[in-house]
Amino acid sequence: MTEDMNVQAEVIAIIDDLFMEDVSDMMDEDLFDAGVLDSMAVVELVVALENKFAIKVPVSEMGRDDWNTADKIVEGVKELRNA
């Protein structure tokens, strides 16, 4: 559980660090619609997540349906860590 909490906190911190946006109160919101993410930003985010969590995110999976909310990103990272 603490592990999971960490992933969430880290993801929020990375987004804040990269894009200067605090998403902690909008975990379920579409980050593309909110103007936080675009195609460029999602790639930067992926690279940062890969470095932080020592995972490899398949590029083909970075679609706007799978990685569009902070919650989904947290879930995605957890899945890839357990894979």
């Binding site: 790639v43 992926v46 590029v59 083909s60």
Partner: protein, 414 residues
Amino acid sequence: MTQWLENLPNWQPYGDPTYFGYLLLGLIPIVIGLLYGRRFQVYEALFSFTFILLMFSGSKWVQFYALIGYIVWQLMLIFGYQHYRKKADQGWVFYSAIFLSILPLILVKIHPVFNHGKMSIIGFLGISYLTFKVVAMLMEMRDDVLKDLRVWPVTRFLLFMPTLSSGPIDRYRRFEADYTTAPERSVYLDYLQSATWNIMLGFFYKFIVAYYINLYLLIPFKHAALSQGGLFNLPTIGVMYAYGFYLFFDFAGYSLFAIAISKFMGINTPINFNKPFLAKNLKEFWNRWHMTLSFWFRDYVFMRFVLMMTRHKVFKNRNVTAGVAYMVNMLLMGFWHGLTWFYILYGFLHALGLIVNDWWLRQKKQKNRARKKAGLEPLPSNWFTNAVAIFITFNFTMFTFLVFSGFLNQLWHH
């Protein structure tokens, strides 16, 4: 075989209302089957084959052989690469496969430049759209998200009749999921309803609006502009708007047909246009205009290029990375349209526009953050600012379509 092919009539996809008559007649068994949750695969294949054959029959028979050769070539590449990918994953093999799959398209694009505009004999209607499908598949195979492909499903995806000639560009995994599970009756009934509506709207767009824009605006404006001559004149502005709207109604109309026929066949082909002239900025425009093409370039060119540059830390500044990636992406799209100065300039202008657009969005974000800190309201965003944004975006895109149309080439060199 050749003589038989030559003697057949030639039916261009969605060319005229009678075409729809035959198409809908041929669709009846498929529709009945799907209403009962069944796909008649053999019938569907025969139906598709017949209409594809008629696209390339008559005087276009050479293209039929070109298509067959092309499909065999791409299948060899896909399954050759799949065989290799099971054992290894070297960059140069992947890049070679990509190069070889684009090679026919490159030859077809280069050929007219050196042969007085004559088309290459290996070209056929739809070659570029097929290339997009294959390249995407190879990339997803490298990512290991596409595996255990079989010849028949891949062929069926590549040769899906409704979208063969000009898209929308579908993705293999999405298409295959639709194909293997016949839609539930309630879903399929919705498909039928939206398909009927799409065909009616498509008729209105293509055979009425686009037709009359061309007849009563575009052609007269062109005549007037050409007779006035010079570098630029007032009727050329008329050509600009008339062509922009003509292009939209013609292509959006075609796309609606392709989507409708897909839906009759139980395939939810993605949409291509979503009110593009209401976009508030250029980035949004590309989420609304020729969407399957723009998303293809976004996913398979832009994002992968950014990823490569970010991983290797090519540029320190992220805005430089984005700018370079926009240039590569849009110039490539320009080249894809054809090797003429106006297509390439069209790509260049859009890249430039996207860079400026990004810069503007950054400025706005920074200003608003500073204002928030200072306890001020964010910059105004209301109906007026939106209207101004739509106006600027609309006129910029219309200007790029004038470039794209090649009319300036005609005006300056006639």
